[in-house]
């Protein structure tokens, strides 16, 4: 008799717990789902017009701060567009003309003029942005940065 009663209570307990667990999952899911909502991005290619090729001198670095990138024109005339965010934790890096390098104010990472890591904690070269050159003008795809481990000559874009 006693055993049966205990079993009954156990079943009731089981169902109670099941309900609590399911409800908790539901609440937890709702919370996460609500927090996961992102504004939908319209997928279209928006290119940033950086200007005429003739505006950029060889061997110079140009900052486009509101679009978050540096444009570097190599001595041979090739272009490289690099995101101005440190690959360590995303702080905005600055360019030092004197030392020809990029420095991060947050954790003292630094990068050479090609974007390669000079000193840690960053481990990866600066992200690059695709460049399109059309009718003598430079366009930069600022929304689609490309990860890279280190600099390679093939990343340059020539007119």
């Amino acid at each position: 008799m006693d055993e049966i009663r205990i079993k009954k209570i156990n079943r009731r307990k089981f169902i109670k717990r099941l309900i609590v667990i399911i409800l908790s999952f539901e609440v937890f899911y709702l919370l996460l789902a609500t927090l996961s909502i992102r504004r939908k991005k319209v997928k279209q290619l928006i290119l940033f017009e950086a200007g005429d090729i003739s505006n950029f001198e060889n061997g110079q670095v140009y900052l486009f701060s509101s679009s978050h990138f540096f444009l570097y024109r190599f001595n041979d005339g090739g272009f490289l567009a690099m995101l101005n965010k440190c690959t360590h934790l995303g702080c905005v890096i600055s360019y030092s003309e004197k030392n020809k390098r990029f420095d991060c104010p947050c954790h003292a990472s630094s990068f050479d003029i090609n974007g390669d890591v000079l000193s840690s904690p960053a481990t990866r070269a600066l992200d690059i942005l695709p460049i399109v050159i059309d009718r003598g003008k430079i366009y930069v795809d600022v929304d689609n940065p490309i990860h890279r481990d280190s600099f390679d000559i093939s990343q340059l874009k020539y007119a």
């Binding site: 996961s36 504004r39 934790l89 995303g90 702080c91 104010p105 947050c106 954790h107 003292a108 904690p121």
Partner: protein, 427 residues
């Protein structure tokens, strides 16, 4: 001490507490408590101080909510206006700020107190877990509040922490998306942090706090050094009197701090420029310092996971071989604690110094640290006669002392661009 207690010393007349609120306050206490629990250096009143600070935070927070505008355009200005235009506006914000800061410190000390006085075992195990959860909630509340002024420091500190989350393998991007609601810190993030800060976290905190208090009562109050001595005295006035004095002292300290030191407010945030040497809030600076030395996966996943496993697991490890309520478990435990503090401070300093000269890389660093710590364990067992419980105390001490050392290094020894100040002096 117990033998020469004057029996009449605790027979004072009860403080006449009338009214519902006072009666409720009294009902949070048992009617009688062990006379040993009255001694100030038993608890240092830390739990009570924390509770008081939370009440102050709720009151000042509710006032601040009426003026604060949670939007990128309005946030910064609403705080500046409130500080400049409203009498005592600055003061209210200062009190909120300093209570928040003190709360983290006091709760941290509360954790140290319960751990070192062996008050986390057996019937208090669950409460230790709830306490750790409360600590995490308070730190999250503090961190989400950090962004709300929308000045340059808070903006970049939150950017950094969000990027730290991104480096967690597999679910990092998803987690940082949950936290920020966007790819980078923006209006959605501010809104989200605001609601975490004033809604979700306080509500959960309130529920867990009630459980926490109830479990203290259920465990029959705080631990005492000698549980065989059971001399009970009435709570009112003996404990109530002390609580009132401590509360007044806390209020005085808080008011003085708020009068003389303003809550920081930098220039309005500018997403285009990172200021020189962005520093995380001070309680996270240890982690920021850690991230200078080890890769984000180690610094943000592996090490915190190990620490959490230890903290949550340690009450499960002990059996009967423990002196509940005795500081550091034994006299030897006390000696071991002091030596372990010295050991970890020196070790941490040496390793940070070595790495600032780029002498060792991160795996080498982790390797050296682990080996030296293991050697220290062996030394403690073989030469300092540490028992099992003392070893847990040593582990806890090493974790705490290392983290505090990292905070101190991050706060005081990092100059412009996070370079190591000592290095500049030494050359």
């Amino acid at each position: 001490m117990q033998s020469n207690i004057n029996n009449n010393a605790y027979d004072n007349k009860a403080i006449p507490l009338k009214g519902v609120v006072s009666k409720f306050f009294l009902h949070l206490h048992p009617a009688k408590i062990n006379v040993q629990a009255l001694k100030y250096n038993r608890t240092f009143g830390l739990g009570g101080i924390a509770a008081l600070l939370i009440i102050i935070l709720v009151i000042t927070g509710m006032i601040l909510r009426f003026v604060y505008v949670p939007s990128i355009k309005g946030a910064y200005d609403s705080i500046v206006n409130y500080q400049n235009d409203v009498w005592f506006g600055h003061f209210v914000r200062n009190i909120h700020y300093w209570s928040g800061m003190l709360l983290v410190v006091v709760m941290f000390m509360h954790i140290l107190r319960v751990f070192y006085s062996n008050s986390i075992y057996f019937e208090r195990r669950k409460n230790w877990w709830y306490g750790l959860v409360i600590f995490m909630l308070v730190v999250s509340a503090n961190f989400t509040g950090y962004l709300l002024p929308w000045d340059s420091l808070s903006y970049w500190a939150v950017t950094i922490i969000a990027n730290v989350f991104k480096s967690i393998p597999f679910c990092g991007n998803w987690l940082s998306g949950i936290l920020l609601g966007a790819d980078q810190v923006d209006e959605t993030t501010l809104m989200r942090f605001y609601h975490f800060h004033i809604g979700l976290i306080p509500v959960i905190l309130f529920i867990v706090l009630i459980i926490h208090f109830w479990l203290v009562r259920k465990a029959k109050g705080v631990t005492v050094a000698n549980s065989s001595l059971v001399k009970m005295v009435s709570v009112n006035p003996n404990l109530v009197y002390k609580e009132i004095v401590v509360s007044l002292l806390v209020l005085i300290v808080l008011f003085l701090l708020s009068l003389f030191f303003n809550a920081p407010l930098n220039e309005k945030s500018n997403p285009l420029v990172s200021p020189q040497s962005v520093k995380a809030p001070w309680y996270f600076i240890g982690f920021q310092e850690l991230l200078l030395h080890v890769s984000p996966i180690v610094g943000i996943v592996v090490i915190p996971l190990i620490i959490c496993l230890f903290l949550f697991g340690v009450p499960l490890l002990v059996k009967d071989d423990i002196n509940v309520g005795v500081w550091f478990n034994s006299v030897n435990g006390k000696r071991l604690t002091v030596l372990s503090v010295i050991f970890s401070v020196i070790l941490t300093f040496v390793i940070v110094l070595l790495q600032s000269y780029n002498i060792i890389n991160q795996w080498f660093l982790i390797g050296i640290y682990t080996i030296v710590v293991i050697l220290w364990f062996f030394y403690s067992v073989l030469y300092l006669k540490a028992g099992r419980v003392e070893l847990y105390i040593v582990t806890f001490t090493i974790l705490v002392a290392t983290y505090i050392t990292l905070i101190i290094i991050g706060l005081m020894l990092r100059g412009e661009g996070m370079s190591f100040i000592l290095k500049q002096h030494i050359g």
